[in-house]
Amino acid sequence: MAVAPIEYPPPVEPDREFVTKPTDPEDERIEVGVVIVGGGPGGLACAIRLTQLLAEDEALMESLGEVPVALVEKGKGPGSHLLSGAMMKPSAMQKLFPDLPESDWPTFGPVDRDAIYLLPNRKRAIPLKPTPPPFRNHGNHVTSIAQLGRWLSQQAEEAGVYILGETSGHELLVEDGRVVGVRSGDKGRGRDGQELSNFEPGSDLIAKATVLAEGTAGHLTGAAIRHFDIGSEDPQQWELGVKEVWEVQKPLDRVIHTMGWPLHFAAKYREFGGSFIYPMGEDKVSMGLVVGLDYRDARFSVHDALQQLKSHPLVAEIIDGGKRVGWGAKTLPSGGYWARPRQLWAPGMTIVGDGAGMVNVPTLKGVHYAMHAGMHAAEAIYERLKAGGDCADLSNYQKKIAGSEFEKDTYRSRNMRQPFAKGFLVGGAIANMMEISGGRVPGGHWPTHDDATVPVFIGPEREYPKPDGKKTFDKLSSVFASGNATRDDAPNHIRIQDKVPLEVALMWQNMCPAQVYEVPDDQLEAATKDGKLDGKHEVKLQVTPSNCVQCGAITAKGGRLTPPEGGDGPNYQLT
């Protein structure tokens, strides 16, 4: 039997480690009105909407103290850790900034042409016409979410939001069954956790309401869902996207999606995914490959498959004579309707955006859902503040989400992703049926599964291209291009078991786009019998946590990502 990574669970106890009571003496706690964890589109939209609402009620604003709205961001600043395709539906920006013309948005403008291709092999591309509805993007905006985040954070700061960069939300503060804030992470610890000369302990941030907008595989979000038991019966699933931004010679005239090669079609590989290629103005192109993390072959690597994809004539022509100017990787929740948390709030707290699974996989959309959810959370909290200030019951947030675009869209596509576990062709047929029937067929409840429960095997060696440093790159060059310059002696923030079977170890090594995990040569030799790899042989991995770009894939595939020191990790600019 092949081994599933879940048989080697990470050494982590979220409820004990990441949920605590406030510990700072009362006079040292930082009291704010509302604390938002995460400076992505969801958190920032929430912050901006809150300030818009509070601006109309000065007395209420003043009652919240010196800092009515605070936002903590673990990257160097908002935007540093943001990565998405991204094709944004305009509805959320229109709602948040009703007086701002679309031409003034920090985007690359709306799309007017799109195309989708099936790539049967390394040479051919079959256009699918007319473009299937989920891939029609007329009117949607091509966006660099890293840039959008920076722009939104400027708007938020101008509106009076107190943004704390380089600050991770490390523990959820819970007292008497309700969330009372978050504790920020320590800084300046050495490799073994010892306090260095620049050590700075975290602080308790106490708030009337806490908004978890941490994005994919959220650290506190996961702990909160477990602590308050508000998850769904169906486990969340994730996909891993690796993305590059290219400076190109000639402008790309359309939005492109591809399916098929270099992913394997055969059902036993369970490789579900595809690529996107979007024009970013006249001189840049954003491209990436997104693959479901329920794939099975330990040799599969999204990073290297993307390198391979660039040799396809369809893609090669677009980037010919160009230069790579950005790189990054990130997971996205793909469990859809059934896997989203059953309850999106707990006393004193709400969850918005990717942390709550707010992505519609068939249409590849999530940014606008996160922003809508952020605004809904702001409105729900404002209602409670206005009605006396107690934010324990935030069920009004759940009601707002229940009537939202997100709920309708994901219900319509609720059984679309799951059939792909049967392979690309069968899955494709069933997904089509769902689309054509307007969400009626197949009915019922198709359960999702935990990516880490899928057994992995070591397939035949893959023919990934040798990096040439011009068109194709090795993982370390990619990490460099992400702007990651994390100090080497930081404590290890990645939790995995020390010794795992080679199958699992190789899967992690190849899965990780940032070369965090490596099976050392001597371990590989020890696992080789009669010239063949023994997948069951237990090996010890070499882990380089400072390479980590915090994509979250390890959390999906049997380990646990926890937030490192604030400011560590990538510094995305164009992704």
């Binding site: 100017v325 440093g469 060059s477 460099f480 291009a481 702007g483 310059a485 994390t486 080497d488 070499q542």
Partner: protein, 323 residues
């Protein structure tokens, strides 16, 4: 006068990085049609003879002030006075922690414009333009100055040493009344950060080892060769991580930046994170068993082979040649 360059010294010797800055300042001043001067701060070890040797690197004048050495604030006082009295248009630093601290302090004191981590400076239309890498060295921007003076702080070892002058700089003593706050800090002890016993930034020859050495003991091969060549030993992040060699010897993005005359890379694959720390080396020789290693793409001489065999033979050969 156009450019004032700070020269750091220790125990009667100027630091290599400072000599690079002095040479660069002299070259740039010539292009601007002006002259460069150096400024030195310290005690009695700053003899007339020692100061005059800076003329070898192209400056015509050396301003000497008696003040505590190795601390930033007294140097800020001295440089602020010299710049104001003599009307310098630019101040140039070779970098390093002290250079950064003095440069920043001087900028604040004079309300000047500053550029840090500068890798090259050019003269354009009678003004200096500094080149500064941004976004983790993925792009370079030109920075000009709109006011005077312009403060330029180089990246460590960014500037090459050039002996072109006639070796007779005029030494001018400057009398400076130090600010009160400048005398608050005193030097208690000089020590290398994180227990360094090698000074890889000043070495002309570096033998660097990577994961290809196989084990910590593999560094003995590098050490023997470095000893025979009269150089020092450096290391990659991977081996420092693995505990094979101390952090003080680490080269690269999160380590030190070096530019020796000879950089011999043994068992180093040459990832970009390493490359950014040593690409300024004059001659790069790489030994690696993997012919596809990226390091061969930017080395002057590449040897594909087993370093366990090559390094000892090389050491023997160097010893034989040196007698």
């Amino acid at each position: 006068m156009s450019i004032l360059v700070y020269a750091l010294h220790y125990e009667g010797e100027f630091n290599k990085n400072s000599l690079g800055a002095v040479s660069e300042g002299a070259k740039l001043a010539k292009e601007l049609g002006g002259e460069a001067a150096a400024v030195v701060v310290g005690g009695d070890d700053l003899t007339d003879e020692l100061c005059a040797t800076l003329g070898n690197y192209g400056v015509s004048k050396v301003y000497r002030a008696k003040a505590p050495e190795g601390l930033a604030q007294p140097v800020v006082d001295v440089m602020a006075k010299v710049i104001q009295d003599e009307g310098f248009k630019y101040a140039l630093f070779g970098g390093g922690l002290l250079g950064f601290e003095i440069g920043a302090g001087l900028t604040a004191r004079l309300g000047a414009g500053v550029t840090m981590e500068v890798t090259a400076v050019k003269a354009q239309e009678g003004k200096l333009v500094a080149e500064r890498p941004i976004l983790q060295d993925s792009a370079i921007v030109d920075v000009g100055y709109v006011s005077e003076p312009g403060i330029i702080i180089g990246r460590l070892n960014a500037f090459d040493i050039a002996e072109g002058g006639d070796g007779s700089a005029e030494v001018v003593d400057v009398d400076v009344q130090l600010e009160d706050h400048s005398t608050k800090a005193v030097m208690v002890q000089r020590g290398e950060q994180r227990g360094a016993d090698v000074n890889i930034e000043d070495a002309d020859i570096l033998v660097a080892g990577g994961r290809g050495l196989g084990k910590a003991e593999g560094f003995e091969l590098c050490e023997s060769l470095a000893e025979a060549l009269g150089g020092a030993v450096a290391a990659t992040r991977a081996v420092v991580d693995a505990g094979w060699y101390p952090y003080a010897a680490q080269i690269g993005q999160t380590g030190k930046t070096v530019a020796p005359k000879l950089y011999l890379a043994a068992g180093i694959s040459g990832a970009i994170q390493h490359k950014v720390g040593m690409q300024g080396s004059e001659n790069i020789v790489a030994i690696n068993k993997d012919p596809n290693a990226p390091i061969f793409e930017f080395s002057d001489l590449g040897i594909v082979g087993d370093l366990n065999k090559i390094l000892p033979k090389l050491t023997e050969a160097v010893k034989a040649k040196k007698g």
